[in-house]
C-alpha cells in the first residue's frame, strides 16, 4: 500500500477530494452546502469539492470510488453525519477505490453542525468550512495504515438464557459455532416460561421454551451453564476472557467439568448480551399499589389467573377475593411525564413506551369478559398501541366482548382511592366523553406495568456498554446497525436493548447470532491501526514513555544500532497490547512516539486549518 503516490509529503502532490453531504435536507436546510464546497475548493491540495444529496447511498459512494480512479485522488474527506454512523462506510468506499482506507477523514456537520445550529445558518456554514479545513490539514500528515491482524477465538458467549439468548445460541450452534450460554437462574426460559398465554398466537410461554430447549439439547456445539453469572471480563474482540461465578443455583461439579477448577474461566471471540428486562415495580402507593388490597400488577394478575375460579353468581374468585368488576390501567411506569410523575430512584422518569403492555392488557380484559360475562371490565388507557400482525384483532375482540374503554390524558392519570365496603374507586377525566369526570367502583385494579432494563452488571461496567436515556443498552444505529454496540464483538439480543415483544426479541436474537457468526467465521480479526508507533530515527532511548505506559508489555525497550554503529536502546510497541491512549506521546522530548492516525502534527495542522479556513470561494463542481 505504501506508494510514492499516496504517501505524499505535506503540501506536495496531494490530491484531495472533498464531498459535502446534504443528508436529504438534514444538513442542507441549514448549511449552505454549495458555499461550503466552493470555499473548501480554495484550499491548497483540494482537487475537487462536490455536493451530494446522500453520500452514504450507493451512487454517493460510487462517486468517491470513481473520482479516486479518474481524478487520481490520494486523500478523501466526506462532510456528513457523525463519524459513528458512516466513517467506516466511507473508509471502505475509499478502500474500494484502490486507496489506503486510512487516507480518509470524516467531518461531522450534522450532529455537530446543522442539528445544533438551526438558528444560525451562516455561522453553521462557516463552521462547516472550518471543520473541513481542519480535516484537510490533518490529511496532509496522514500516512497509509494497515489493520492489525489478531487471532480469533471462535466461540460465542451468550449472557442470558431467556428466549432471546436461547434463540441466539440455537442459531449459532446450527452454524457449527461453539457457544457458551450462561443463565443466572436455575432454569432457562426467563420470563416467557412463566406466561400463561402468549399473544397473538395463543398457547403457553412454557411450550415455546420447551421447543427451543429441545433444539438446544440436540446441539453439541452449545454448552449451557445455569445458575451462574459473569463475575469478571476482560479483553477485546476475538479475545474476550470471562470469569464465571456460582450465582447460588449453579452446579459446581458441572462447572468444574466444563471449565476446570475455580475460578471458572472461559474464552470467547464474541459476546451476545441477552440480559432481558424486569417488569416495572410500582412504588408503594402508586395507583394504590401496596396500599389497598386488590391493586395488583398485570404479571401478578396473570399469575393468579390460572387458579381463578368461577363463583356461582358469575363472579370470580381471585386469590380469595370475590371479583365482580375489574379496572385495568395502562402505562404504569411507562410514558411518564416530567413534573407529573414521581421520578425513579436515579432521578429519571420512564418516558418511553413499553410497547407490549397494551396487547397484554386488552387480551386479559377480553379474556375475563369471555370467561366471566357477569364481570364488568373497565380499561383506562391514554392510547392503545396494539401494533403488529394479529394484535389489532385482539383489541377489536376486547371491544366486542363489552370491555368499557375510558381514555385519560397523560398529564391527568387516573386516581385510585378506597371506596365503600372494601371496594376501590377509580376516578378519571374521560376524553372519550369530552372531559366527563368518571368514577368507577371496582373490586380489583390491575396495573399495566411496562419493562425496565434487566441487570447487565459486570459486563456493562467492564465493557462500558453505551446506555440510552431510557437506561436500556444502546445500539450503534437504530436502523443501520440495530444489534451492534460501539464495543467491537458485542451484540444485543432482545429486551436488554428496549421493550420488545416475543417476535421482535426473536428477530433481534437471530440478527445478533448472524452478526456474531460473521465475526466468528474468520480465524482472525482485524483491529484498527490506531496504536502507538515509534520513529526509530528520532527515538533517543530516554524511556520517559516507558514510565507512562501502564499496559504490561505494550511498550518495551530493544537494543538497536545507532547511526554511528554504536549500540543504543529504542522504544518498541506491541500493537496487540497497546490501547492507543497516547499517554506516551505527551512526554516524548523528540516526538518520536505517536499514535497512528492521531499524531500531534495532525492535531496542530487541524488547529491551523480551523484558524486559517477561507469563508468563501468561487470554484464549484456539482456531483
Amino acid at each position: 500500500m505504501r506508494t510514492e503516490e499516496n504517501n505524499g509529503v505535506p503540501g506536495e502532490d496531494i490530491r484531495i477530494g472533498v464531498y459535502v453531504c446534504m443528508c436529504g435536507g438534514n444538513i442542507s436546510d441549514v448549511i449552505d452546502v454549495d458555499r461550503v464546497a466552493a470555499a473548501v475548493g480554495e484550499i491548497a491540495g483540494v482537487t475537487l469539492a462536490k455536493v451530494h444529496p446522500f453520500m452514504c447511498s450507493d451512487p454517493g459512494q460510487q462517486t468517491i470510488t470513481e473520482d479516486i480512479k479518474t481524478q487520481k485522488l490520494n486523500r478523501v474527506v466526506v462532510a456528513s453525519c457523525s463519524p459513528f454512523l458512516h466513517e467506516l462506510t466511507f473508509r471502505t468506499a475509499v478502500g474500494r477505490g484502490g486507496l489506503n482506507p486510512y487516507l480518509y477523514e470524516h467531518v461531522n456537520i450534522r450532529e455537530q453542525g446543522s442539528w445544533s445550529h438551526k438558528d444560525d445558518p451562516d455561522g453553521a456554514t462557516i463552521k462547516a468550512i472550518r471543520l473541513i479545513a481542519a480535516a484537510i490539514g490533518k490529511l496532509r500528515y496522514a500516512e497509509p495504515l494497515e489493520q492489525i491482524q489478531i487471532s480469533n477465538f471462535r466461540r460465542a458467549l451468550v449472557i442470558g438464557g431467556g428466549i432471546a439468548g436461547m434463540r441466539s445460541a440455537v442459531d449459532l450452534g446450527k452454524r457449527g459455532i461453539e457457544v457458551l450460554l450462561v443463565e443466572k437462574e436455575p432454569s432457562l426460559g426467563g420470563w416467557v416460561k412463566e406466561w400463561e398465554e402468549i399473544y397473538p398466537t395463543g398457547g403457553k410461554g412454557a411450550e415455546l421454551i420447551r421447543r427451543l430447549n429441545e433444539e438446544l439439547e440436540r446441539l453439541n456445539e452449545v454448552t449451557v451453564l445455569k445458575g451462574v453469572r459473569v463475575s469478571d471480563l476482560s479483553g477485546f474482540v476475538g479475545n474476550y476472557n470471562v470469569t464465571l461465578e456460582n450465582a447460588g443455583a449453579g452446579d459446581e461439579a458441572e462447572l468444574r467439568e466444563v471449565l476446570g477448577n475455580a475460578p471458572y474461566r472461559a474464552q470467547a471471540g464474541a459476546i451476545i448480551v441477552a440480559a432481558g428486562f424486569e417488569p416495572y415495580k410500582p412504588r408503594a402507593g402508586e395507583f394504590g399499589y401496596e396500599s389497598f388490597p386488590g391493586v395488583v400488577t398485570l404479571p401478578e394478575f396473570i399469575e393468579g389467573l390460572s387458579e381463578m375460579q368461577i363463583h356461582p353468581e358469575g363472579r370470580i374468585f381471585w386469590r380469595g377475593r370475590t371479583v365482580g368488576s375489574v379496572a385495568f390501567i395502562h402505562c404504569v411506569g411507562s410514558r411518564q411525564i416530567e413534573g407529573v410523575h414521581e421520578k425513579q430512584d436515579d432521578g429519571k422518569i420512564n418516558d418511553y413506551c413499553s410497547r407490549t403492555c397494551c396487547t397484554a392488557i386488552v387480551r386479559n380484559a377480553a379474556l375475563i369478559r369471555e370467561r366471566f360475562p357477569g364481570v364488568h371490565v373497565y380499561d383506562f388507557y391514554q392510547d392503545i398501541r396494539t401494533y403488529g400482525r394479529g394484535h389489532e384483532e385482539i383489541y377489536t375482540s376486547a371491544a366486542n366482548t363489552g370491555v368499557t374503554f375510558l381514555r385519560y390524558h397523560g398529564e391527568q392519570p387516573p386516581v385510585v382511592e378506597k371506596g365503600a365496603d372494601g371496594a376501590l374507586l377509580v376516578r378519571c377525566n374521560d376524553r372519550l366523553t369530552f372531559g366527563e369526570e368518571i368514577e368507577a367502583a371496582v373490586d380489583m385494579v390491575v396495573l399495566g406495568v411496562g419493562m425496565t432494563p434487566g441487570a447487565v452488571g459486570k459486563v456493562s461496567e467492564v465493557l462500558k456498554l453505551p446506555v440510552g436515556a431510557d437506561r436500556f443498552l444502546q445500539e450503534v444505529h437504530p436502523k443501520l446497525r440495530p444489534v451492534e454496540v460501539s464495543v467491537n464483538g458485542v451484540f444485543l439480543a432482545g429486551t436488554a436493548q428496549g421493550p420488545m415483544n416475543i417476535e421482535e426479541a426473536f428477530s433481534a436474537a437471530g440478527a445478533a447470532a448472524a452478526k456474531a457468526s460473521i465475526l466468528l467465521n474468520n480465524s482472525t480479526v482485524q483491529l484498527d491501526p490506531f496504536k502507538a508507533n515509534v520513529d526509530d530515527e528520532s527515538c533517543i532511548g530516554c524511556e520517559r514513555c516507558l514510565s507512562e505506559c501502564v499496559y504490561t508489555g505494550a511498550l518495551v525497550m530493544k537494543e538497536a544500532k545507532g547511526t554511528d554503529g554504536s549500540t543504543c536502546r529504542k522504544a518498541v510497541v506491541n500493537p496487540g497490547l497497546c490501547v492507543g491512549c497516547g499517554a506516551c506521546v505527551a512526554v516524548c522530548p523528540t516526538r518520536a512516539i505517536y499514535v497512528n492516525g492521531w499524531t500531534l502534527s495532525q492535531y496542530e495542522a487541524m488547529v491551523d486549518g480551523l484558524l486559517n479556513a477561507p469563508r468563501e470561494g468561487a470554484r464549484i463542481e456539482n456531483a
Binding site: 457523525s82 463519524p83 459513528f84 461531522n108 450534522r110 450532529e111 455537530q112 453542525g113 442539528w115 445544533s116 445550529h117 438551526k118 438558528d119 444560525d120 455561522g123 453553521a124 462557516i126 463552521k127 472550518r130 471543520l131 481542519a134 462500558k464 453505551p466 446506555v467 440510552g468 436515556a469 460501539s486 490506531f530 533517543i540 532511548g541 530516554c542 520517559r544 507512562e548 501502564v550 499496559y551 490501547v579 492507543g580 491512549c581 497516547g582 499517554a583 506521546v585 505527551a586 512526554v587 522530548p589 523528540t590 499514535v595 492521531w598 500531534l600 492535531y603 496542530e604 487541524m606 488547529v607 491551523d608 480551523l610 484558524l611
Partner: protein, 160 residues
C-alpha cells in the same frame, strides 16, 4: 472592535468514548449552542503535551474546553495523568500572565447533553468577557514549555 462584537475561537478536544458522542447527543436532541465552538475528536487528551495547548493559544485559539471521560475513561490511569498535567499547566499560565479561565478540563458522558451545553456556554461567556487571547504572552509560555520537554535530550547528551 467593540467587546460585544468579539466572537471567541473555542476549541473542544472531545474524547471518542464519551464527550464526542455526548456532543452528538446534543445535536440529536436538536439543542443549540453557538457556532464558534469547534469540536475535534481525540482518543484521550492525555496525549497532548503542555505545548500543544499553549501553541493553540499562541496561534489565536481564545479558549479550550478539554471534554474528557472523567472516571469513565477507558484508559487506565489516563485521566489522573491528564488532571495532573492540566493542574501544572494552569499554574504556569497563571505565573506567565495568561488567563487561566481560558482553559478548562471537564468530563462529559455520552448522554450528558445538559452538562455539555452548560460547559461550552460558560466557557464561551467567560472568554467573551476576557477578550481575545494575548498571543505574545502565550508564545513566551509555549517556548518555555518546548524547552522544558526538550531538556530530556540535553540531559541525555550530557550523560553520554
Amino acid at each position: 472592535m467593540s467587546s460585544e462584537a468579539f466572537i471567541p475561537k473555542i476549541l473542544v478536544p472531545a474524547t471518542v468514548s464519551c464527550a464526542y458522542p455526548g456532543a452528538d447527543a446534543v445535536g440529536k436532541a436538536h439543542l443549540k449552542y453557538p457556532t464558534n465552538i469547534d469540536i475535534i475528536r481525540v482518543p484521550s487528551p492525555v496525549m497532548f503535551p503542555e505545548d500543544f495547548y499553549l501553541g493553540c493559544f499562541m496561534k489565536g485559539i481564545d479558549g479550550i474546553l478539554i471534554a474528557g471521560c472523567g472516571s469513565d475513561c477507558p484508559f487506565e490511569g489516563a485521566y489522573t495523568k491528564l488532571t495532573k498535567r492540566i493542574d501544572g499547566l494552569v499554574k504556569k499560565m497563571r505565573a506567565g500572565g495568561l488567563e487561566i479561565e481560558r482553559l478548562r478540563l471537564t468530563a462529559i458522558c455520552t448522554v450528558c447533553v445538559k452538562a455539555f451545553l452548560k460547559e461550552v456556554n460558560q466557557l464561551n461567556d467567560k472568554v467573551k468577557a476576557l477578550g481575545p487571547v494575548n498571543r505574545d504572552v502565550a508564545r513566551v509560555l509555549w517556548e518555555a514549555s518546548l524547552r522544558e520537554i526538550r531538556e530530556g535530550i540535553e540531559t541525555e547528551t550530557a550523560n553520554e
